[in-house]
């Protein structure tokens, strides 16, 4: 009790120094007075009494010191005094301080932001228990035409595995509808085996997850938190209620499912999901989606062991690879750590950013180091004076250290703010503005696990520590040098040539290093910037300007005929809007990346076998008249799909340039007849080619066009019906996602209500799934390149500015040091031009070395960028040249200012400087 009380009081005493000091002085004065009184009473004179009293008391100051020692923690007090002194001295040289603090903040902030992102994505375990034991089973190099793993194969796999504790299957159904009171709503459904959540170890936020016991009653579902908020207004009563789910391959045409629980959004790692439900039999023979198996390793089992087992089981279960398939380059089937698999796409890019930001931090340290060196040298006289006055070397070093700590702390504090802003910026840059079906295509963010990205305190502390260490080393170096040399260089700051040669070499090295690193960053940013420019300018084959894209949602129980009628009515209504120039329909719009290959198209006089094994067969795209006009697809020959190809007319197709080249080579396609083979069981049919259009980059702006055959969607329905397709398959090929495109003469916000009114007027049950400007979709398609280019661009600009400042600082300092020399030269007849040349030469020399070495480094390292580039070679000469010339110009400009100052030296003043 008493020791604690004393500890607290000693701490508190630090803040009440003044009162305690007054009280102490008063007490000691009284004490002395009392002694004097006594001594005077014994007959001493006043003067003698005063002296004797002092003697009896002992040293007053010593007593006070010891009182202070006992009263408060002295070392804290000392540190505080050093700290206050450091702050005062830093505030005096405002230019130096703000330069150093801002530089440090940029370095610490940028580093913290990028490493926080990398840490959250690459290093942090998934937010699932023992997540490092989760693996995904991957079938490598699956040949074309071989279907993915089926549900039946999954079930047998699950029974055979001995390395896995559990094996689950997940596949995605993008076409499911949730029936709500406001009409049908598209939901992203994940169809999972009942043990899915058990294998993942995921815990629900409300209710329960699906469980193996649900095998008995499969009509259950789990919704995600965002769906709960969006569709059910976060109603607590939702768990236990029944909803209607329609359409889709695994869910059955219409199902009533009971919601048993709600999953938090965090931890939805495998894709965009609104609702999970069970796989309903008889789905056994149907293929699941791509790589649908997720397993959990038994404790102690390695991924390698699971991999080799998966290869054995998988190879036995899966159909044999056809002889024509290219030989495998590795194992056919393997198990891969789930997290590694999820983030593998972004790993190379994050590695590039981590290196870039590391380089930036090095530049920052170099800059702060040269700032501190300059300051240290400039303060030599002050230090020498202090030493002459008796300050110990340790005391001076300690005080310089305090200054460095204060600098680094200020930089770190500001850096934390910069870092937090940086993380927000990264998340925002990575966010893709997409709703409805587009969210499934583009994802919510180009960062996997983007939701988990937060600023990492650990990373911040490491960055702070690094810069603190760097500033301490370079802040104290001059002081150590000083004390090594004894007191001699007291006036040497201005004159001494011997010590400044080593110094100028150090500073030259620092500046060169900065230039090298900044050059590398600039080249990287230049390459990515050019990639983005290329993307912006690439010939897409369509014009997204003022085009609105939306997906229609109709009740799935409408007959096919009613759906086509609704589509036609809606098109008519849309075209009747005054601001609408054109409107069209497609089963899946541009950038939805949904492709269908149906059968084989064979030109006249050729054999089916010549085309049946093509690696890239022409895709079938069902659309309506008006779609080409809306998207401004260029008709090269003949005509486009224009609405006259009704279901009763002979089959007509329009093909794109790639398809024309493959099918007809050099000869004219228009007017020729294609034979469309489905399979051996169904009769082939004839299609007349009515036109050829320019290629369109359908899947994404950075992906090449593929051969396409366009047909009127009503003809596709008619033909697939003749072939005996089920209504669901007919609709999947011809109506599909019901993408509409509307070309308008006005802006998006004014058009949206008009489009919505047209939809409601057409059918009261119809809804809109996602309505967005086509231009936004195009921008989304480039989000990744934009993200890379902007992020690296920011780093490169910071690096270049810092390096420029570095050059300027080094030369300005050199000019300051050589003022006397310059004065002498000028007094001896040197012209101003020569003086300017002398300083410029040094700047250009530094720049030449730094930039050349940097270009070499960039040349060696550029191949790491390859995967991030579009339409530009990693060793693009133009980019290298532009960076070299531009940066050289910056460096020369940075050295010109000090050179001019040198030329302005007045010899008379310079010589009198002693």
């Amino acid at each position: 009790m008493a020791p604690l009380r004393r500890f607290v009081l000693r701490l508190l005493s630090l803040f009440r120094t003044e009162r305690a000091e007054q009280e102490l002085s008063r007490e000691i004065d009284a004490h002395l007075a009392l002694i004097e009184d006594d001594l005077r009473r014994q007959g001493m004179s006043d003067a003698d009494a005063r002296l004797a009293a002092r003697r009896a008391f002992g040293g007053v100051d010593q007593a006070k010191e010891r009182h202070r020692d006992a009263r408060a923690f002295r070392w804290i007090d000392d540190a505080r005094r050093d700290f206050a002194y450091a702050v005062r001295s830093l505030r005096r040289s405002r230019g130096f301080t703000s330069a150093a603090v801002v530089t440090l903040a940029l370095g610490i902030g940028a580093t913290t932001a990028i490493y926080s992102v990398a840490d959250a994505i690459l290093l942090q375990p998934l937010p699932l228990p023992d997540s490092e034991r989760l693996v995904r089973i991957i079938e490598n190099e699956r040949p074309r035409g071989m279907q993915p793993i089926t549900y039946q194969e999954y079930l047998e796999w699950r029974d055979r595995t001995t390395t896995l504790e559990g094996l689950a299957a997940i596949t995605f159904n993008p076409q499911a509808m949730l029936m709500t009171r406001e009409g049908a709503v598209r939901v992203a459904v994940a169809v999972v085996s009942t043990n899915y959540f058990e294998v993942l170890g995921a815990t629900p936020m409300r209710g329960r997850t699906l469980a193996s016991s649900d095998e008995a009653f499969l009509d259950v579902a789990v919704i995600t938190e965002s769906t709960w908020r969006r569709q059910f207004r976060a109603s607590e009563a939702i768990v236990g209620s029944t909803i209607e789910l329609r359409s889709g391959t695994f869910t059955g045409a219409s199902r009533l499912v009971t919601i048993v629980g709600i999953m938090p959004d965090n931890g939805q790692e495998l894709g965009v999901v609104d609702l999970y439900t069970t796989i309903v039999l008889p789905a056994n023979a149907r293929p699941l989606g791509l790589n649908p198996l997720i397993g959990r390793l038994k404790p102690g089992v390695s991924v390698e062991a699971a991999s080799s087992e998966a290869n054995i089981i998988g190879s036995a279960l899966r159909p044999p690879r056809p002889d024509v398939a290219p030989p495998l380059t590795g194992p056919r089937i393997e198990a891969r750590n789930l997290k590694d698999d999820m983030v593998s796409g972004l790993r190379p890019a994050l590695r590039v950013f981590a290196v870039a930001v590391g380089v930036l931090l090095l530049i920052v340290c170099a800059n702060v180091a040269s700032l501190l060196l300059a300051r240290g040298v400039a303060r030599r006289q002050e230090m020498a004076m202090r030493m002459a006055l008796g300050a110990g070397r340790g005391r001076i070093v300690r005080q310089l250290l305090t200054e460095c700590v204060v600098l680094a702390l200020a930089g770190g504090l500001l850096g934390a703010i910069v870092g937090a802003a940086g993380v927000t910026l990264v998340r925002q840059l990575a966010t893709v503005e997409a709703e409805g079906i587009f969210r499934l295509v583009f994802g919510g963010s180009i960062l996997p696990r983007g939701e988990e990205v937060v600023i990492s305190l650990r990373v911040l502390l490491i960055a702070l520590g690094l810069s603190m260490a760097a500033s301490m080393v370079f802040g104290v170096l001059p002081a150590l040098q000083l004390s090594r040399n004894g007191h001699t260089p007291a006036h040497g700051g201005a004159r001494g040539a011997s010590s400044s040669r080593a110094e100028s070499r150090t500073r030259g090295l620092l500046v060169c290093g900065q230039l090298v690193m900044a050059t590398v960053l600039l080249v990287a940013a230049g390459l990515l910037g050019r990639s983005l420019l290329n993307l912006l300018q690439v010939e897409k084959g369509y014009d997204p300007t003022n085009v609105i894209a939306f997906q229609l949602v109709l009740p799935p129980d409408y007959a096919t005929l009613r759906k086509t009628a609704t589509i036609e009515h809606l098109l008519a209504r849309l075209r009747a809007i005054p601001d609408v120039k054109a409107a069209g329909f497609a089963y899946a719009g541009i950038l939805l990346s949904i492709e269908n290959t149906v059968g084989t198209f064979v030109p006249p006089g050729r054999e089916l076998s010549e085309f049946a094994e093509d690696q890239v067969k022409p895709r079938l795209k069902a659309l309506s008249g008006g779609y080409f006009e809306t998207m401004r697809l260029r008709v090269l020959d003949g005509r486009g799909i224009d609405g006259r190809d009704r279901e009763t007319n002979p089959l007509t197709a329009v093909i794109n340039r790639s398809a024309a080249r493959r099918l007809f080579g050099q000869s004219r396609a228009v007017g020729q007849t294609l034979t469309w083979h489905l399979d051996a069981a169904q009769p082939a049919v004839q299609i007349t080619v009515a036109g050829v259009v320019e290629d369109v980059r359908q899947a994404a702006v950075d992906r090449d066009a593929y051969p396409e055959v366009f047909m009127d969607y009503r003809q596709v329905i008619a033909q697939t019906a003749r072939w005996g397709f089920t209504a669901a398959r007919q609709e999947a090929l011809a109506i599909g996602f019901m993408s509409f495109a509307v070309k308008t003469s006005t802006d998006f916000p004014t058009m949206v209500p008009q489009v919505r009114r047209a939809v409601l007027a057409t059918d009261f049950n119809a809804g809109i799934d996602a309505i967005q400007p086509m231009e936004t979709l195009v921008a989304n398609s480039m989000a990744r390149q934009r993200f890379y280019a902007v992020l690296l661009g920011v780093f490169a600009v910071i690096a270049a500015v810092l390096a420029g400042v570095g050059v300027y600082g080094a030369l300005a300092y050199a000019v300051m040091q050589r003022t006397r020399e310059i004065g002498v030269r000028m007094a001896l007849g040197a012209e101003r031009r020569q003086v300017v040349g002398m300083i410029l030469r040094r700047g250009i020399g530094l720049a030449a070395v730094g930039i050349l070495v940097g270009l070499g480094g960039a040349f060696a390292g550029a191949r790491y960028l390859e995967a991030m580039l579009f339409g530009v070679q990693p060793r693009d000469v133009v980019t290298f040249a532009i960076v070299a010339i531009g940066f050289a110009a910056v460096a020369i400009a940075a050295s010109y200012l000090p050179a001019r100052r040198a030329a302005a030296v007045d010899p008379a003043v310079a010589l009198r400087m002693e």
């Binding site: 000693r10 007490e27 009896a56 002992g58 007593a63």
Partner: protein, 112 residues
């Protein structure tokens, strides 16, 4: 005289101050110093200033408490008085000291 000087063991000064205050009632620092000199018949001959760290230590522990009062000679002085906690502490510390000094005595007397 300096040869007769006794170096006080760490902590013993605190105990002595507590004891003096318990015996004499409230004292100011000078009176305290005078009392210590009187009791020890001068061999301590301590600088009176050395009392101050002990006083602040004890006050911070809550064992004594200082008040400003007038002396008989009508001067201001800070008088220190034992608190209840101080009285308890004095008993404990005295007991501890006794045990320690007994032990040391025994060890010193033991001829082997």
């Amino acid at each position: 005289m300096s040869s007769e000087r006794i170096e006080l063991l760490q902590g013993t000064l605190d105990l002595i101050v507590l004891r003096a205050l318990a015996t004499m009632g409230p004292l100011h620092a000078y009176a305290l110093a005078a009392r210590l000199e009187q009791v020890s018949e001068h061999p301590l001959a301590l600088n009176q200033g050395t009392l101050y760290p002990a006083l602040v230590r004890l006050e911070q522990k809550g064992w004594i408490k200082g008040h400003w009062r007038k002396t008989e000679t009508n001067r201001d002085a800070k008088y220190y008085d034992l608190t209840a906690a101080g009285r308890r502490a004095l008993d404990q510390e005295t007991e501890k000291w006794r045990r320690l000094s007994n032990l040391v005595d025994k060890l010193l007397v033991d001829p082997s």
